[in-house]
């Protein structure tokens, strides 16, 4: 089957690699082969090397870069490229991603229509390289947008040694994901890491002095990074007459209103949801690969996990804790900067916010993803620390040496290590009990412990 994928971002690359056995064409408008976009902030921070971002594409994929699609001819089942050439398809996949929205700040764009030199977007590899190159000459940076990407960029720049300020128009950080309590704790943690946070403040103007906020502050800065999100790129679909609302409308098989055309990733709308994250986009790509292989597969869109990747900030958001209905179990500890909230419905963790303490994330995510039905006390127990083991005196029948099957009483009956070895063979296997045996032998001189039990 000839599959043409429009876009060469994360979802597109994932889908293309999963379509082995098909004849796949991948059309990207960037100059770079597919790369792992979500690690760009890690490149900026310096933990990842750019070369390590390249994603795998099989031999079956015909990758065309710097290629723009201008039209879909649905009747002919062809697409038209910017150079007027046409490509036929059996299945067409729109993975056109999103278009960054430019916040309404005067002075971002110069009179010649280009961005002010201090202003950076942070969406593509080129954006990342340009910002990276600007860091050494800069002392201060303002990040506009307190969402996941904004916080990651803020931390990256902070780790690089810049003085960083974050401006968030909403009342708190991560306002699409978490509630005010979590946002406040996060802001405090960020402040502790040296980053100033302005919430409920809008940037209105960029002047020669700096970024002017609506609360009157003027933030002197060398760099302004825009991370304020985007909207689904739908113009191609709209022109082709496909059903488009906020995004390109798809059903559970990621199929649009034309059965031969599909959409995945940021440009697609499933139910009333448009996602802006990679995990659901990759889940969609996986499902669509199976659908195109003729397998029964559906995307139910229910489970997403958003993770902040930033040194010193631990955040995980499971599902939609702001909207999910259920009973709430919450443990908040502003003193140490942790806030954890589980939304539980019929025993199932349907959403969660974990800020500042991810010690149980490995288990909570598993329960969330698998829909495990928990007992009433469990969600609470998940948020409590493990109890420290109590110190105790070994009972006479407590096994000390598993290799030889020797208990504490047997050891206490011996007077020396040599006797222990000869009489019980303890310590002659893996050697792990040697310390315990020595302690037990030493304790023999303390009559109060002799034969006592815990």
């Amino acid at each position: 089957m000839r599959v043409v994928i429009v876009g060469a971002g994360m979802a597109a690359a994932r889908l293309a690699d999963g379509l082995r056995g098909h004849d796949v064409t991948l059309l990207g408008d960037e100059a770079h082969a597919p790369y792992n976009r979500i690690l760009l902030s890690a490149v900026l921070e310096g933990t990842h090397d750019v070369a390590s971002l390249a994603l795998r594409l099989g031999e079956h994929v015909d990758l065309r870069l710097d290629t723009r699609v201008v039209e879909i001819h649905r009747e002919e089942r062809e697409i038209e490229l910017a150079d007027r050439s046409r490509l036929p398809y059996d299945a067409l996949v729109l993975a056109t991603g999103s278009i960054p929205t430019l916040p309404p700040i005067r002075g971002l764009v110069r009179v010649d229509g280009r961005l002010d030199d201090r202003v950076h977007a942070f969406r593509t590899l080129d954006d990342c390289r340009r910002l990276d190159a600007a860091v050494p000459g800069a002392r201060r940076a303002v990040v506009v947008g307190g969402g996941l990407l904004g916080l990651q960029v803020a931390r990256a720049l902070g780790v690089r040694g810049l003085e960083v300020e974050v401006v968030e128009g909403g009342e708190h950080l991560l306002r699409s994901q978490v509630d005010g309590n979590a946002g406040a704790i996060l802001a405090r943690s960020l402040t502790r890491l040296g980053t100033t946070v302005y919430t409920g403040a809008r940037a209105t103007r960029l002047t020669a002095v700096g970024l002017v906020l609506d609360n009157g502050y003027v933030l002197e800065t060398d760099l302004v990074v825009l991370t304020a999100g985007g909207r689904p790129s739908t113009s191609l679909a709209r022109r082709a007459g496909l059903e488009v609302r906020r995004g390109i409308v798809v059903d559970d098989t990621l199929t649009t209103s034309d059965p031969r055309i599909h959409a995945v990733g940021d440009c697609a709308q499933h139910g009333d949801r448009v996602t802006g994250f990679v995990p659901p986009a990759w889940e969609q790509a996986g499902v669509l690969a199976r659908v195109l292989d003729g397998e029964p597969a559906v995307y139910d869109g229910s489970r997403s996990v958003a993770r902040l990747r930033a040194t010193g900030l631990d955040v995980a958001v499971l599902g939609d804790p702001l909207e999910a209905e259920g009973e709430v179990v919450e443990v908040s500890n502003p003193v140490v900067g942790s806030h954890r909230r589980l939304v539980v419905r019929d025993g199932v963790v349907v959403a969660a916010t974990l800020v500042g303490d991810l010690s149980r994330i490995g288990l909570i995510t598993q329960y969330f993803d698998r829909g495990t039905v928990l007992a009433p006390a469990e969600p609470g127990a998940l948020l409590l620390p493990d109890r420290p083991p109590l110190p105790h005196v070994l009972a006479a029948d407590a096994e000390v040496c598993a290799c030889a099957g020797v208990n504490a009483g047997d050891i206490r009956r011996c007077s020396s290590l040599a006797e222990v070895r000869a009489a019980t063979r303890a310590t002659t296997g893996c050697g792990g009990c040697a310390d315990t045996v020595r302690q037990l032998l030493a304790q023999r001189t303390t009559p109060t412990l002799e034969g006592s039990t815990a």
């Binding site: 090397d49 795998r56 919450e330 500890n333 991810l358 007992a375 469990e378 493990d386 893996c430």
Partner: protein, 716 residues
């Protein structure tokens, strides 16, 4: 005093046997370097089957009238078997007879068993329980290095590495004396990392412990390599000079950033970073896998993923570093090298290679065209028994199939459909009890033969006592059967003579034993293969200069994670994994009968949170159910296991009625280590109390917290 080796695991600890009247005593053999005199209780009590009342000392034949087994003379039993095998073969061709061997058999027995199948019976249907042991590591080793030797270095090299990563190995309990090497490593300042769904006694000795969901060692490896590559820790020079395939692997791990691995594996991204940092900063890194990583439908891919990590760091072939597999069974290594594997001939030659066939047929004195081609793998062979195209007769040596096969109820049903089941064993194992003919054979201290330990060191098991009357050696039994089915060539029965023939057959093969003799093994504390001639010193360390592929380079092989064949779901929400306990070995046919070893019976290890959820207290009976069967056993409530996972030891009937028979596409390894289960307390089944699932309330958390002053937090 007779120097020999323990009858059980692949460590093959050296020990000395001393006769004290009628009794046989185990003494340390301090000079043998692998264990230096240390033994676990299995080794110390190994003589416990000597003179045991359950030893079989007479052939048994199932009486047609009563359906019971009765004593028979050797001639009667062997004649009966020979006649039935000939009849069946005449009726429906040579593949109607199948042979099933074991990874505990000596090299000589394994070799003769393969020859019995290929030459005397002419059947392609021969395989062995080693498929269920380390076959995934074998398959990965062949793909990556061009050769499969468990450890490419002596075990004591562990002490000299800087970071040791144990993936799915609980060696402190499964091969206790090996743990001494860990301790010496740590005394030197080296670090130990353990990856296991259970915090085992091995994990207790680790500097870093990662506790993944069963079946996710593969994405962990992908995530580690992702971080190593991101940090620029890949040894580019080594990769360019000694390997091929790095680029594709590199691009494939770009998709496995730590937070994605965290979601799949249940291991926090921070712990993955700790592991990668540890590995990136070390001069010498050693990665060892064992059954926990290998016994999966993606076992080969899992091992390859970890091999990729070791190769990327430039470790393989470097002193005190690299990748290795901790083989499980006593002769797991040698057992797969000499022809009882369905696709192989002696010397690790492939049966579909014309040159290999010609060489081995030459040693055997038969026409190469008379040798059958590749047959079915162990589980597939059993699955086909009694069906169209499957075998109708099965000869079993050194394996207790109905306890150790996955989906064991199904396998027992297949055995029941056989026309003839013959089992050679020393005790009435659960499989022998189903047989039409049972042949009593020698054990360990009563016989001589070579084993090849986990290091690829060929060692000598030496006879210390004579066998009980009525018992014959496996070699004698195989020779008698060969004669009775009209073998074109005679079969030797003297182990040293068989070994000399094996050495010739292996000459020029990948596992070349041509220069090894019993005398050399005695003189040198074992000889490492390959050892092509008498003057060759053997090869303790492989890969120093080149790998075994024709171009001398190792292969990076790109792999991706598919996940367990049977994911958990609403009906079966808990992961089940299986494994061993210290005091028992394999199917327990031997160790369960040794008086000095505690025979606890199976148990179900589960976390207090899960125990509370299902209403089970420590020691109370629970039922573990999977799509294939059920097991009722006492709960053992421990905080050391993941709360989403239960563990059942496999030494008793039951565990493998639960396990999944999904196979690895390359190694044909069944997925013993993970399947989906439902765990229920028997008390609740009886009461059939309706299950309520009231969500936790804030009040409840407050109440719990009030009783726990250690948390400094507040509830908002």
């Amino acid at each position: 005093m007779t120097d020999t080796h323990c009858p059980y695991c692949s460590l093959q600890c050296g020990m000395s046997l001393e006769r004290a009247g009628r009794a046989l005593e185990v003494r340390p053999w301090a000079e043998f370097p692998v264990n230096q005199g240390a033994l676990c209780r299995k080794g110390w009590s190994a003589a416990g089957l000597r003179g045991h009342r359950e030893r079989l000392t007479s052939p048994l034949v199932r009486d047609r009238a009563t359906g019971e087994l009765r004593s028979a003379s050797w001639d009667e039993a062997l004649d009966l078997v020979g006649a039935r095998l000939r009849e069946l073969r005449d009726e429906s061709g040579p593949d109607t007879v199948a042979v099933f061997g074991g990874g505990g058999l000596t090299n000589e027995k394994a070799y003769q068993l393969g020859k019995l199948a290929r030459v005397a019976l002419g059947t392609s249907q021969v395989d062995y329980n080693g498929r269920w042991c380390m076959s995934s590591a074998a398959s990965a080793g062949n793909q990556a290095f061009g050769v499969d030797r468990g450890l490419p270095f002596p075990l004591e090299d562990v002490e000299q590495t800087d970071v040791l990563v144990l993936v799915g190995s609980n060696l402190v309990e499964t091969m206790p004396p090996a743990a001494r090497h860990l301790d010496r490593l740590r005394e030197r300042g080296g670090r130990v990392v353990v990856i296991d769904p259970r915090r085992t006694p091995t994990a207790d000795r680790a500097d870093l412990f990662l506790q993944p969901v069963p079946g996710t060692d593969l994405p962990l490896a992908l995530g580690v390599l992702h971080l190593l590559d991101a940090a620029g820790a890949v040894d580019e020079e080594y990769a360019a000079a000694r390997t091929v395939g790095l680029d594709e692997v590199r691009r494939s791990v770009a998709a496995w950033w730590p937070e994605r691995v965290e979601r799949v594996s249940g291991v926090p991204a921070s712990e993955l970073r700790e592991l990668a940092d540890l590995m990136a900063g070390a001069e010498r890194v050693m990665v060892l896998t064992a059954r926990g990583a290998e016994q999966h439908a993606q076992g080969t891919a899992t091992v390859l993923a970890w091999v990729n990590v070791a190769l990327a760091l430039g470790m393989c072939g470097r002193p005190f570093a690299g990748y290795g597999c901790l083989t499980g069974q006593g002769n797991g290594q040698g057992g797969r090298e000499h022809g009882q594997k369905s696709d192989q001939l002696p010397g690790y030659r492939m049966i579909d290679d014309p040159a290999a066939r010609a060489h081995v047929a030459g040693v055997w004195g038969v026409d190469p065209d008379s040798l059958p081609g590749p047959g079915r793998s162990a589980y597939e062979l059993l699955d086909a028994l009694g069906t169209d195209g499957g075998a109708r007769a099965l000869l079993v040596f050194g394996s207790n199939i109905v306890v150790s096969a996955p989906n064991a109820t199904h396998v027992a049903a297949r055995l029941a459909d056989l026309d003839l089941l013959v089992v050679a064993d020393l005790v009435m194992s659960e499989t022998a009890a189903l047989a039409d003919v049972v042949l009593p054979v020698t054990q360990w201290a009563e016989e001589t033969g070579t084993m090849t330990n986990l290091e690829g060191r060929v060692i000598l098991r030496q006879q210390a006592v004579s066998a009980p009357d009525g018992v014959r050696s496996d070699l004698e039994v195989i020779a008698e059967l060969a004669a009775r089915v009209g073998s074109p060539v005679p079969f030797a029965t003297d182990p040293e003579q068989v070994f000399a023939e094996l050495a010739r057959a292996s000459a020029g093969g990948r596992a070349d034993y041509a220069g090894i003799t019993y005398d050399r093994i005695r003189a040198e504390h074992g000889v490492f293969w390959p050892c092509p001639d008498a003057d060759h010193p053997g090869t303790p360390r492989l890969f120093a200069d080149s790998f075994a592929h024709a171009d001398g380079r190792a292969r990076f092989v790109a792999v991706d994670h598919r996940g367990p064949a049977e994911p958990t779901d609403e009906a079966f929400p808990i992961h089940l994994t299986t494994g061993r306990v210290l005091a028992q070995y394999q199917s327990g046919a031997q160790t369960r009968r040794v008086r000095d070893l505690p025979d606890t019976g199976p148990f179900v290890e589960l976390h207090p949170m899960l125990a509370a959820r299902i209403g089970a207290r420590d020691g109370e009976l629970v039922v573990v159910a999977t799509r294939r069967g059920e097991l009722k056993a006492p709960a053992r409530v421990v905080t050391t296991i993941r709360p989403d996972t239960v563990f059942v030891p496999f030494h008793w009937v039951g565990a493998n009625r639960l396990t999944n028979d999904a196979l690895d596409p390359s190694s044909r390894m069944p997925e013993f280590k993970v399947c989906a289960a439902l765990v229920t307390a028997v008390s609740r089944l009886v009461a059939s109390a309706p299950r309520t699932s009231t969500p936790a309330s804030l009040v409840e958390v407050r109440a719990q917290r009030a009783s726990d002053p250690t948390e400094a937090g507040l509830i908002s």
